[in-house]
């Protein structure tokens, strides 16, 4: 049921620029597996969050001043004097967190159901690129209010590059545009914070093109074999995505109106002071697991490599996991280790928020080791030896009728 029209104007445009039929194909007739559960909502939720961030961000940029003497006060002016400024800034702040919540669930969904496996390797890798760009964007955005956490977060993260042998110091000076985090740094971070979201949009487009080439995975992890296995996107998944969005926004409104600073740090309401480091610097919650990995290694270069390695390992995951079976539904052993991996990740997040002393250090070393053990030893070496997958259903249709 491809796109057809009797309207002459539409047809005239269509013959020159097939936008309407492309939209019709991707948002209307596009076939989706008919057994998707609610975990498949988080991609569209992340997309919604991205659009919200761009819209509120552009409005905030009209009121914000990227200068060390004025940045903090311009943000306070947004909060106090600009019409609805408090609302727009709080939406931007909290949606950043909700964007990460949606993306983390989206990633864990992919891990559980094997959405990274052939033929979805590039789809998955584009997702990892989006994740990296999001982290860079979020980090630079957090610097802009020029509070204490902004300044010291920027100092610590840019100093990661000084761990690179020989050229590290020159790279850091180049990143700063000076000899410490200062006005040139703030200016360029603002420029990049404005640019990167649009690059994310471009990569999201590629992510969706790849998705529509290989089609969506599903809880059974088996391919769609015909029309009996699928439903059209409209109305079945448009309505399901919209319902999920409603629930997501209720939770979001809860934070936005009742606890807008719950996920932030009070220290960032103190203007940046280059001569005094806050006693306890922590990054935003969504960086904590990686921050714990950074601190777990007692060597500067080693810590930085481990932190970047924790993400790099995701790039090669499609080739590390050698099982032919996608979904953990049919992988009795991998399923157990998935939950251990998830708990270990949450534990790393907890440790990242604690000071680097006492048992926290040892615990984060063990949890870091386990993180890499999961990807580098468990998936490629141990699981293929000990796991016997359960039998797959012959088709999605049949499995759906049985349940």
């Amino acid at each position: 049921m491809s796109f057809k029209t009797n309207n002459k104007v539409v047809q005239w445009v269509e013959d020159r620029l097939p936008l309407i039929s492309m939209g019709h194909h991707t948002l209307y007739e596009y076939p989706m597996p008919k057994n998707l559960n609610y975990l498949w909502n988080f991609g569209s939720l992340a997309g919604f969050a991205l659009v919200t961030m761009i819209v509120t961000g552009i409005i905030l940029a009209m009121q914000y001043t990227p200068h060390v003497d004025m940045a903090f006060n311009s943000v306070e002016r947004i909060m106090r004097d600009v019409n609805n400024g408090w609302l727009i800034r709080y939406i931007h702040m909290n949606m950043a967190s909700f964007f990460f919540i949606a993306v983390y669930i989206h990633i864990m969904r992919g891990l559980y159901y094997g959405s990274y496996k052939a033929p979805r390797e590039l789809l998955w890798q584009l997702g990892v690129v989006i994740f990296l760009l999001m982290m860079a964007t979020a980090f630079m955005g957090y610097v802009l209010p020029w509070g204490q956490m902004s300044f010291w977060g920027a100092t610590v993260i840019t100093n990661l590059f000084s761990a690179i042998p020989v050229v590290g110091e020159s790279i850091v000076t180049w990143l700063w545009g000076g000899f410490s985090v200062d006005n040139p740094t703030l200016n360029r971070f603002f420029a990049l914070h404005y640019l990167l979201p649009f690059i994310i949009v471009a990569v999201v487009v590629l992510h969706i093109v790849a998705l529509h080439t290989v089609t969506s995975n599903n809880p059974l992890g088996i391919d769609m074999k015909g029309p009996q296995d699928s439903l059209t996107f409209q109305p079945y998944y448009t309505i399901k995505d919209l319902f999920g969005l409603g629930v997501f926004l209720i939770l979001f409104a809860g934070f936005l109106f009742w606890a807008p600073n719950y996920m932030g740090h009070p220290d960032n309401y103190i203007p940046a002071n280059p001569l005094s480091t806050p006693a306890h610097i922590v990054p935003e919650w969504y960086f904590l697991p990686f921050y714990a990995i950074l601190r777990a290694v007692p060597d500067k270069l080693g810590g930085v490599l481990a932190m970047f390695g924790a993400i790099a390992v995701l790039f090669v995951l499609p080739w590390l996991d050698r099982s032919k079976i996608r979904s953990c539904k049919f992988r009795p052993v991998a399923r157990v280790f998935f939950w251990i991996f998830l708990l270990n990740g949450l534990f790393l997040g907890y440790l990242g928020g604690k000071p680097a002393e006492g048992w926290y250090v040892v615990a984060s070393q063990i949890a870091t080791a386990y993180y890499f053990f999961h990807f580098l030893i468990l998936l490629p070496v141990i699981l293929p030896m000990i796991e016997r997958p359960r039998e797959l259903p012959s088709s999605i249709h049949e499995a759906v009728l049985k349940s």
Binding site: L160, T173, W174, L175, G177, G178, S180, T277, I281
Partner: protein
Amino acid sequence: MADGANPENSAQGSGETRREFLYLTAGAMTVVGAAGAIWPMIDSMNPSADVLALSSTEVDLSPIEEGQSVTITWRGKPVFIRRRGAEEIAIAEETPLADLPDPQTDDDRVEKPEWLILVGVCTHLGCVPLGQKTGESRGDYGGWFCPCHGSHYDTSGRIRKGPAPKNLEVPPYVFLTDNSIKIG
């Protein structure tokens, strides 16, 4: 164009290698040209002339009492100036080099043993260590303690324990008179 008109000739070497040569040299020149065009943009992000111009500071040391520390700003970074007591100097001088992750004698780190002058930036990830004000933790070795990731520095500003790889940096400075220095 004669080469192109004669397929035998172009397939046989002379025309082909000539074309390859032109292709390679043109490609190489394109890369050089692109790099030359990109470099000014990359370099524009390096410290500008006005930032570089702020690179020296003079400090009057006379109001600093023995045992006291002050923090001043140089190139946007804190510089620690500590007027060390005899005991602190003795500890710093007697520490065996074998105990140090980044071995350096105390003598190499000061012009006059009384005055210890350091860039107050932890060599791990750039936090400002504690220990300048009275009541702040000075770590296990009586110097400075970085609260971010737990690095301990001794009374010569040398790293003793924790993730920092190097000693606190000693900035370039000269004594202008007995009681004043110029940093930078």
